[in-house]
């Protein structure tokens, strides 16, 4: 399968926050139509990786390539135009905007009104609960609904690659399950996904491939389910020797 060209390719990425060397040479690949997850304990650099890809953080060295285009130097809004959308950590929906407005903002870059209307219906079919709350302010939604809105909003840009930063954060177990089923569904309908999770088990269950990060580096990688039983993973999380 490695014969084909990856959708996203990251090569030797180094990022500094002030004096902190946050990413120490990250390299990874995401192939089309796959779910790839990035797992590891807090502070390992997962979020920084996604933030760098999305253009919110600048890398010092290293390449980020979407298909044939180098995108490492583009501003964040251009990266969205290139086809990468992100569901930020902690949802970050706009609390002062209605559900509908949040979704419209998600497709800010698009002009194809007809298709937008169809996509909106598609989003509502995935998240029927959002449909009931179309005119409600984002801030009044429950945590789970906000997460759904954040995912829906990102999907509205019709991304080639959807990145998600801890979609299960702060959600009750039942909702976590629901969210992961939805992620899988979105993927099956043709969106490539790069996922960050603390909830490693849930992430690995649905992932085609996964990278394990520890203190700014990629430690291990492998096919999703096989990592579930990997000792290194357990160690990275629970600090067991």
């Amino acid at each position: 399968m490695n014969a084909e060209q990856p959708l996203l390719m990251i090569d030797n990425l180094h990022v500094y926050y002030g004096g902190i060397h946050a990413l120490k040479g990250i390299s990874l690949e995401v192939y089309k139509n796959k779910i790839v997850s990035l797992i590891g304990a807090n502070g390992a650099g997962k979020s920084t990786t996604l933030r760098t890809i999305s253009g919110l953080v600048r890398s010092r060295t290293g390449n980020i390539k979407l298909k044939d285009n180098l995108i490492g130097d583009l501003p964040a809004h251009r990266i969205v135009e290139m086809g990468i959308a992100m569901v930020p950590e902690g949802r970050k929906i706009f609390p002062n905007l209605t559900v509908m407005e949040n979704l419209i903002l998600g497709c800010y870059i698009r002009k194809d009104m007809v298709q937008i209307k169809k996509d909106m219906d598609w989003i509502f079919s995935i998240f029927p609960r959002l449909k009931e709350r179309t005119w409600q302010k984002g801030g009044t939604l429950s945590g789970g609904e906000q997460q759904m809105l954040a995912v829906g909003r990102a999907l509205m840009s019709r991304p080639q690659l959807l990145m998600m930063d801890e979609p299960s954060l702060g959600l009750a177990p039942l909702l976590v399950k629901e969210i992961f089923q939805i992620i899988k569904k979105i993927n099956q309908e043709g969106t490539t996904i790069l996922l960050i999770e603390q909830n490693a088990r849930a992430a690995l269950e649905i992932s085609d491939f996964a990278y394990v990060m520890e203190t700014g580096k990629i430690n291990t990688s492998g096919e999703g389910k096989s990592l579930l039983f990997d000792e290194k993973v357990r160690k990275a999380y629970l600090g067991e020797d």
Partner: protein, 259 residues
């Protein structure tokens, strides 16, 4: 009714609601004098919110914080510090343009008798006081191994030393209870080992009660005698590190449920 009369800190039914979202829900916890306890849990579980309620940055929606039999709920942060609670921050908040020594000296301000008027005229009493204060500040820096850096601006210190300075600054308020918010975040394994022995050392030297939030389980398992685990703003377990490690609820919170 106080279940534990000699507790130094007692959190009774703490609840914090942010615009509809419950960040912390009915949290109960007690610390005995001299404890070194940990507060752990996945990201967003509400740990820092608990610190913010203890130190007065947030006013709890429900429940109360009691420190040595005094209720803290409506005291401003500076008054709470004066009672003997100090803290560090998750995202280091030093006074970047001040020297290392000055960062520590700021914490002495609340205890000074001679303030602005005698300072303006440089009265002998004031000079004496300033001298004594500097001496104590430098002793403290020596204790944390930062004395050589005393004149450096805080923002120029390497990361690990910044964490150390933040702890030193907190110690300078002469606390009985020290709250550490992710002291090991961003440290490499070697620095983390140093930090662990450092925390144990200052605990003895300054006779502290310590509560720490940490993600690095090595730290928590290595030095804490008691651990409380949070998930979704609720305390899901409490016990010794060993009990915690084998608690299925905790493993589930960390590694996640079956997807």
């Amino acid at each position: 009714m106080n279940k534990n009369a000699d507790a130094i800190l007692s959190l009774d039914g703490l609840t914090m609601v942010f615009g509809g979202l419950i960040a912390v829900n009915d949290f109960n916890f007690q610390l005995q004098s001299g404890d070194l306890a940990g507060l752990i849990g996945p990201n967003g579980a509400g740990k820092t919110t608990i610190f913010n309620m203890i130190t007065g940055q947030y006013i709890p929606t429900k429940g109360k914080v009691v420190f040595v039999s005094q209720e803290l709920n409506h005291l401003p942060p500076h008054a709470i510090t004066s009672l003997g609670i100090a803290r560090t921050f998750q995202n280091i908040r030093l006074f970047g343009n001040l020297s290392v020594l000055d960062n520590v000296l700021v914490s002495f301000h609340k205890e000074l008798k001679k303030t602005f008027f005698s300072a303006m005229w440089e009265t002998p009493g004031y000079i004496q006081q300033e001298k004594g204060m500097r001496e104590e500040g430098r002793q403290l820096l020596e204790a944390v191994g930062l004395l050589e850096m005393e004149k450096e601006e805080a923002k120029n210190l390497p990361y690990g030393q910044q964490r150390r300075l933040e702890i030193a600054r907190a110690l300078a308020t002469h606390p009985r209870l020290l709250l550490l918010d992710e002291p090991a975040a961003g440290m490499n394994p070697h620095e983390t080992m140093d930090l662990m022995s450092f925390i144990q050392r200052i605990r003895k030297e300054f006779q502290l009660t310590i509560l720490l939030i940490e993600h690095d389980m090595k730290v928590v398992m290595g030095i804490c005698e008691r651990v409380a685990v949070m998930d979704f703003g609720i305390k899901i377990a409490e016990g010794t590190p060993n009990e915690i490690r084998n608690n299925p609820k905790v493993v589930e919170a960390y590694l996640g449920v079956e997807g």
